[in-house]
Amino acid sequence: MKKIQFNKNSIVRRYIFLMGVFIGAFLLLAGLLLYSFYELNEEYTSKNRQLEDKERLVQDMEEAFLQAFMDVRGYFAYGSENLKDNALEQEPQILDSMKELEEMEEDFKDQSFLNEVDKFREYYFTEALPVNLGEFEKGNIEAVKAAANEGATNKIEAFMADINEYNEAINDQIDANFDELKKIQSYVQFGFVVFVLAFLIVLLRITRLMFSEIARPLAGFAAAANEIAYGREAVIEVEKDRNDELGVLSIAFNRMLEGIQENEQNLLAQNEELVAQQDELHAQQLELQEALEIVKNNEQKLSSRNELINKLANSLDKQEVMESAVLNMCPIIGAEKGIIAFIEDSSYASYGISPGGVGQFLNNLLFSGVVDRLKMDRKPFAMKRQAAEEEKGFHTENLLSFDLYIPIFLSGKKLIAVMAFSRNDAPFDNRLMEEYEAMAKNVGIAMDKVNLYQASEEARRLNQDILDTIQEGVQLVNTEGKILQVNKKFCELFRCPEKLREMDGCSWADWIVLLEDSIEEAGEFINFLKSEVASQEKYSSNEEQFIYKNKEGKVFKVYCEGLFDGNTKLGTIFVHRNITKEFEVDRIKSEFVSTVSHELRTPLASILGFTELMLNRELKLDRQKKYLSTIHNEAGRLTDLINDFLDIQRMESGKQEYEKKQLAMLLIIKKVIELQKVHSESHELSLEFLGGRDFVIGDAGKLEQALTNLIHNAIKYSPEGGRVGVVVFEKDGRVKIEIQDEGLGIPPEALDRLFEKFYRVDNSDRRSIGGTGLGLAIVKEIIHDHGGDISVKSQFGKGSTFTISLPVSDSQTV
């Protein structure tokens, strides 16, 4: 219980007045103290300055007298008029100083000192100095000395002692003055300390007053407020006549206290109401949590159901469908473990079951009666049993297990699989059996779909395998040009075998890029494809084919055929057939015909031309002979050509006959070289035999023809001349004949095809050296027919070496 007494009108005004008076008094007294201190300083300074002025004047007089003494003595010593004048000039200065000192005269001491100075000045400047100066100027030095000795010097010394004495008296006065100042200053400082202490005491009194009148009641308020805050009772009492702020505050505080108490009552009532509401809300919350739990449970079931439906709808993989069925149906049904097993192939998927359990289930499935019951009832059923030891976990008491069996039928009503689910201590709700049955139907439908897909996939794969065995590129496109199917060969043609699976469904724009990248002058071909894709013609004609060349130089013929369902076009089949060989054969044949034509026409033109001239013109005999000789040679050339054609035709048809006997190859080669020398003057033909045997079994004419052909070629393809050498030696039981030249050589790409019929090396960039393209083919045929073989090595631009290898013969007969 706190009690506060208060009887003033306004704390603020009162304390403003008190502090005003206090600060005013403080400022006034401090001002007075400072002023008196200032006055004291001023007095001391003025007194000190006066004494210092006196001291200065006395010193000036002393210096003037001393200067006069010195100058007079100097004059007596040196006779300098300047020194005399200087000495005399000191008197007015002394008089001025005396006049100033007279004005400062204060006491008897000053007056007595001035009289002494005046008397001495009178004596020195008026009596002694004029007499001595007169004596000195008369030259009576002795009289001057005598005057000095008689008492002048003593008087001067006595006077100087007086001055010193007066000076010391002034100094003593200055010191006394300073000591006086110090004493007064210490009094003033003491007074200031007393003043400060007095004011501190007053301030303390004011503070105590403020504490007793403000702080103490405020502390009472705070304590009371604290009491109230802790819920205890408290009364704030102040004097009834106290009308100041604290009086007002106490009244307001009491009112506030009443308000708080009233509010507290209200709040308590409200609180009781809220507690009641809270209980109600808590009950509702529990209900909501239960509902939420159910919703979450349903949500999870729905999620699993959606997952199941999704998988069943989208998956075409049997195992995936089975796994999805078990995994998603376990949470929907509320089972702890589950299995789906196919009756025919024992394929299965399980959840929460050990491999041993799975094996046991599969082994007993057909014999447990479950399958028979499902086949008969055609609907799910549940069973109750005692839980097995391994199912109990940590439970030691009896535990019931509940099993649910669900059949899965195909659309043809055939039972294909069984689903089994199990849980402990909670029976399966019979009301949900229809729902489980519906889910099982969905699984059955999905299995139908998987079977259909697998069947169609197998058919597609078979179809694809068949297509892939076809040695032509097959491409089926729809009416928009999108690829429906291609075979492996097609992908190989367009250099994308790894993209076989990606090609199906490839848009026109995408696969056309492939074509453009791999076909020469693809524009025309693409236009052909466009027109065929757009064509509505049901029956193809021969015009619906196109020949193109790819960038590897291979030639393809494309056939196409529209694919119709009744009158509706479904797409177009393009067959890309590699006709490179046929094309090449045609080209070679065409070139051969052209070559034969050229080779035949040239000598024929000569023969006809010259005979025409001989028949229609009168020619001189020598020209006639020249023409006839030419006609004869050209006729021979024609004969050789025709013989070549006939030879190759005979060899191809197997009708070539040989008259074989033992031959010495060296003799044949020598003969051929001799004959060829006639035709070439710019070549150096040589034969080198390295030893060994040179006998072979053969047809002399045919072997001669082969060697002639090879040596003639060596000459013909060395247009700049050079060495043509034939080297013969035996090696490994064979006669080796090498025909070497230093001619044009053979390009590397032509070496493999050199012995092909009608093949002629393209040398138009160097020298268009003609030929039938049959010579080397005939040589090869002849050598092969003799059990030998022929090979070639060549450095392009540097020459070639053809090597014939024939079996050595020791016998004389064939």
Binding site: S594, T602, S606, L608, G609, L613
Partner: protein, 126 residues
């Protein structure tokens, strides 16, 4: 005297054509291949050019193309001789800029008549 350039790789045919034309007071300059023909055409003006189709270095067709592009004989009539008498080859030759085509084997007197016609035509035009 009219100058004729004859480019033919077959020496015997060159002799046949040269003898046929020179007996009739034409001056014939001979070339053994396409390169030689082009070199000769740079050096002098000709009234007629007779080319073989198949020649070393440059074929008759290539020579025609080069002649028609530039040079002092740019507008001279060209006669092409060829053992390749297929229509496609003839068309190719005419398209390249040849004026006449004669297939081998040919009649030298027919060729002479053709040469006369060409040169008379040329004179008439001039």
């Amino acid at each position: 005297m009219k100058r004729i350039l004859l480019a033919e790789d077959e020496e015997i045919l060159r002799m046949l054509i040269t003898d046929t034309l020179e007996d009739e007071d034409f001056q014939v300059v001979e070339a053994g291949d396409g390169q030689e023909a082009l070199d000769l055409l740079k050096d002098g003006k000709y009234d007629l050019i007779v080319l073989d189709y198949m020649m070393p270095v440059y074929s008759g067709l290539e020579v025609i193309v080069k002649i028609r592009q530039e040079g002092i004989n740019k507008d001279v009539p060209i006669m092409m001789l060829s053992a390749k008498s297929q229509l496609s080859e003839q068309e190719q030759v005419i398209a390249a800029g040849a004026d006449y085509f004669m297939a081998k084997p040919f009649s030298p007197l027919e060729l002479l008549g053709k040469v006369r016609d060409i040169l008379n035509e040329k004179n008439t035009i001039q």
